[in-house]
Amino acid sequence: MITKSIENIGSWTIEMVERTGRIFIFLFTGLVHIFTLPLQIFKIIEHTWFIGTKSMVVIMLTGIFTGMVLGLQGYYTLIKFGSEGMLGSAVALTLIRELGPVLTAIMITARAGSAMAAEIGVMRISEQIDALETMNINPVRFIFSPRIVASVISFPLLTALFDVIGIVGGYITGSLMLGINGGIYIYRVSDSVVMADVTGGFVKSFVFAIVVTTVCCSQGYFTHLQTRGGFGAKGVSFSTTTAVVNSCVLILIFDYVITYLLL
């Protein structure tokens, strides 16, 4: 009984070390191959369009409603202290420092991250990745490197879009619906936000881009090595779910770590 438990802990530890090692080697290989010639410019543009441009609508929708909710909640909280004029600061700082990068990363994970994991997983089970190897094409370079560049471009830009739309959302509820002076709202936004807030938000979105892309692509790429979720289509489904869940959890963990380091 005790031997069995120790055995289980041991095999679990070995599995975890192996898996972590695999992901780090995958990330390292992908990063190195970004710079190997010929540069994959067209593929980077194509993936930027998929990850970035096609996520714009969902980011704008989430951004506007997040800003509107913040405006609403903020107004009714601040009015208790007679400080409703500070609404602009509250909305802008909350969005730029925290909610913007985090919610943008989570929304991109849901839309593009899951698609990446599923697409690469299908490529794995239908031997397309093996086919690349037989053609002397490095699969990590072909599949992962352009996606990571596209994510590093898209995440900060979409975060900026989320922040701006969110601030507009806060203006709609705070100023247009609840009657705060529009000029004061805008003044508070520009007065309270300093460059360090914006930089901090972008650092987060940059880190999230690498985390999300690595987790989602590696889950798809190593679909054949996981045994818990079944094989074939079930395996791909398991990898996709795991990719999304792990990405979201890691976004929140990294958010805390980066915030702690930046403050």
Binding site: E119, S126, E127, Q128, E133, M135, N136
Partner: protein
């Protein structure tokens, strides 16, 4: 005596407790069609994947022109792989790419050909394989036979010295199966490559094979010509070729 192009010496491979190859000894010769037969799950595809390095063996040696593949330097391995093309059982075409891009992929990704040169080569192969007019279509829009030809075009675009076929006729009707066999034979004559074919199509596949090997219980139990296997006295070979039901028991 001819020396083998590819040689397996006492190669063993296991997946957990499943011992797929238990000491495989096999010789594949240049400019020949070698066919590997055996029951489903007997390790034919695993054997084929060992040739091109998609899988690594646990022990033994796999030699290419007398040199062990696993001990080749990275640079030499890249050169070695350039000799090969692999046609997968389910074609492994890229669903999200059109037919032209699928065929051109080995050239666009690994070589320094100009766009014009690549276009010329792809169009020539498409014409030879009678798949003109499908350039802008996607694999899902083609029939099984057409997909096979696209996969073959992709396999031949780099003008390889050796082509590995993993059950190239799976899922095809008898007429198309014979068509694929005839296609492999005629294109081998046309392009002059060495072919290794994993197949279940007995006895039709013997018509195009110069050499046949049978794998059974993780070992090669027979190697010889098509005529020799047809007249083989070994019980397992004889029963397998005749398709006797008792073999399953």
């Amino acid at each position: 005596m001819k020396s083998p192009l590819i040689e397996f010496i006492d190669v063993k491979k296991s997946f957990g407790n499943n011992h797929v190859m238990q000491g495989v000894n096999l010789s594949i010769y240049e400019d020949e069609i070698t066919v590997i037969i055996g029951k489903s799950g007997s390790g034919k595809s695993v054997l084929l994947k060992h040739i091109i390095g998609l899988m690594n063996h646990d022990s033994g040696k796999v030699l290419f022109r007398g040199e062990e593949i696993s001990s080749m330097s990275r640079k030499k391995r890249v050169e070695f792989k350039r000799n090969f093309s692999y046609m997968f059982q389910e074609n492994a075409l890229f669903d999200s790419m059109n037919i032209y891009d699928n065929i051109a992929l080995p050239l666009t990704e690994t070589s320094l050909f100009s766009k014009q040169e690549i276009k010329k080569k792809v169009e020539m192969r498409m014409e030879q394989l009678e798949i003109q007019g499908t350039s802008n279509k996607y694999p899902a829009q083609l029939s099984g036979g057409m997909k096979k030809r696209v996969a073959l075009a992709r396999a031949l675009i780099t003008e390889p010295a050796i082509v590995l076929f993993d059950e190239p006729t799976t899922g095809l009707d008898p007429v198309r199966k014979n068509g694929v066999h005839a296609m492999i034979k005629s294109y081998r004559e046309m392009f002059g490559f060495t072919a290794v074919i994993v197949s279940h199509e007995i006895p039709h596949i013997f018509e195009i094979a110069q050499r046949v090997a049978m794998i059974e219980k993780g070992k090669i139990i027979f190697q010889g010509t098509s005529e020799e296997i047809m007249n083989c006295d070994l019980n397992d070979v004889r029963i397998f070729i005749s398709g006797d039901g008792d073999f399953l028991e």
